[in-house]
């Protein structure tokens, strides 16, 4: 992982450039509470090592947060990965915690996105409420829920998860071990398929 300020040797970007056939890019957001498996999912799919940037955000966008004291700026780490699909399109996966206080940062990210994968941990589903509220309030992004099946997490039916999260009946819910590339790819497929359905319905209307 490359991160700002780390001691890791610099990566040679020449080996990481996109193929010359790639002519456009799309992105999905990977959101969810701390520790639910966002970076794991991104890493399982990405063709490059997971990258990270540190973004500075100002007090104005932070609102009143006593934990931040008098500080006027803070930094938020954003990880991301990339996968080339169909030879011509680079798909970027941007991971962010998506809390309300970081909204200004990820509002820019949400702009133009295919949709959002919301990663949840069934041991603490309530940690996902805030990010779902933010998505609903501020975006029209297609959403797919990804239940990260940690070994000791209780298993629920997709209907139960949808009900617990108070989601529309058409919201896809997928589950799996996100360390497995195939399962992470299936989550992405579910989101893009959902985005296709919504776009078609929108075009027909």
């Amino acid at each position: 992982m490359v991160s700002a300020g780390s001691e890791a040797p610099p990566v040679d970007p020449a080996s990481l450039h996109l193929a010359s056939t790639v002519e456009r890019s799309v992105k999905v957001l990977v959101v969810g509470a701390y520790g639910v498996g966002k970076t794991t999912l991104i890493g399982a799919v990405s063709e490059i090592p997971v990258l990270s940037t540190e973004e500075t955000i100002t007090a104005a966008s932070l609102g009143v947060d006593p934990r931040l004291g008098e500080k006027t700026t803070t930094t938020v780490a954003m990880d991301f990965g990339r996968v080339t699909v169909g030879g011509t399109t680079a798909l970027y996966l941007f991971g962010t915690p998506g809390q309300k206080r970081f909204w200004d940062l990820w509002a820019g990210l949400a702009d133009g996105a295919v949709g959002a994968l919301v990663v949840v941990d069934t041991r603490r589903l309530e940690d996902s409420f805030e990010v779902l509220d933010q998505l609903e309030e501020h975006t029209a992004l297609p959403v797919t829920i990804v239940v990260n099946e940690f070994p000791d997490a209780p298993r629920h039916t997709t209907d139960a998860v949808r009900a617990a999260l108070d989601l529309p009946a058409d919201t896809p819910v997928v589950a799996g071990d996100l360390r497995e590339r195939r399962q992470a790819v299936e989550a992405l497929q579910a989101l893009v398929a959902h985005a296709v359905r919504l776009a078609r319905a929108g075009d027909a209307a």
């Binding site: 700002a4 610099p10 990258l51 940037t53 680079a90 133009g112 992405l188």
Partner: protein, 116 residues
């Protein structure tokens, strides 16, 4: 904060040939960029961040990747890249205008994912 923030306006002025209000390109973290390979050298007054950016971007990379490799915030790299675009040293590889990916593109992405 790096000194990049402070000395930037001067360099920008150098890069854009003295134009005071360079046009603003809409750059997103996923916008694909590539250095223009026409043998033209950066002006002497150009800063090290601009040089590093062009060096890193000899092949196609997204803005966010540039920021990660340069270890700078994406917002700062967007400003540097914007000036380099205005001055013709850098080009946008991806069509910058579409607001939302259309059905055709989404279906292509889905097909691509299904072939994994």
């Amino acid at each position: 904060m790096t000194d990049g923030y402070r000395d930037h306006p001067v360099r920008s002025y150098v890069l854009t040939g003295g134009r005071a209000h360079p046009s603003r390109n809409t750059l997103r973290p996923e916008t694909l960029l590539c250095a223009v390979d026409d043998g033209r050298e950066l002006p002497v007054g150009a800063g090290r961040h601009e040089r590093a950016l062009l060096e890193t971007c000899r092949g196609t990379l997204a803005l966010a990747e540039l920021a990660a490799y340069l270890r700078l915030p994406t917002s700062l790299v967007a400003v540097l890249a914007s000036d380099l675009l205005d001055a013709g040293y850098l080009a946008v590889r991806s069509p910058a205008t579409h607001d939302l990916p259309g059905v055709d593109l989404l279906e292509e992405v889905l097909d691509g994912l299904r072939r994994f």
